[in-house]
Symmetry: C2
Subunit: 106 residues, 2 copies
């Protein structure tokens, strides 16, 4: 339990990186395209992409001069399963289950 999502959370805690991840939902993009759309300088884009890559959030495919970055599905699946451990906290169905269990206690 608890695993190690800290790298993923840390990566997503930075606004530019969050925007990169959001951008990449539309499909792979090159470093230049990302820098342009986010209005940041290319070196910063490269640095952020490196962090995202080390966190496992993106991977790269090289094509000639360019590098196409794209989202990896795995960390999102892991986030979902991590979040599932908290589902009883907020999920309506679990609320009803709680009510039911409380009823049983009487």
């Amino acid at each position: 339990m608890d695993e190690d999502h800290t790298a993923v959370f840390a990566a997503l805690a930075e606004p530019s990186r969050m925007r990169i991840v959001s951008l990449l939902r539309g499909g792979p993009l090159t470093v230049g395209q990302i820098a342009e759309r986010l209005e940041i300088r290319q070196p910063q884009a490269s640095k952020h992409l490196k962090v995202l890559q080390q966190a496992g959030l993106v991977d790269v495919e090289a094509e000639a001069n360019r590098r196409h970055y794209r989202l990896r599905p795995e960390p999102f699946r892991e986030l979902e399963s991590w979040l599932a451990g908290y589902r009883e906290l907020w999920n309506e169905r679990f609320d009803r289950l709680d009510d039911y269990l409380r009823t049983m206690e009487d």
Copy 2:
């Protein structure tokens, strides 16, 4: 879109805070109980709880001397809905939808 989950992600990116959140799944705990179970000093526990509180992840109920911290469901709901925006990236059902759409393109 994108909203502002950065405070939540930043809060969860710290291992001790992640452990506090995990601990609190079992129900509200006092600062002292948290410090004891995590084997950290009380001031650090208080500081981490402050960060968690400012991120909206926990709230407090004062009872005499003690303060009971507990998880708030809202940020977890928001995480879930944020994550939903990425579901087509990893969800099997969406994969099948993709296949279907590609078929339509021929």
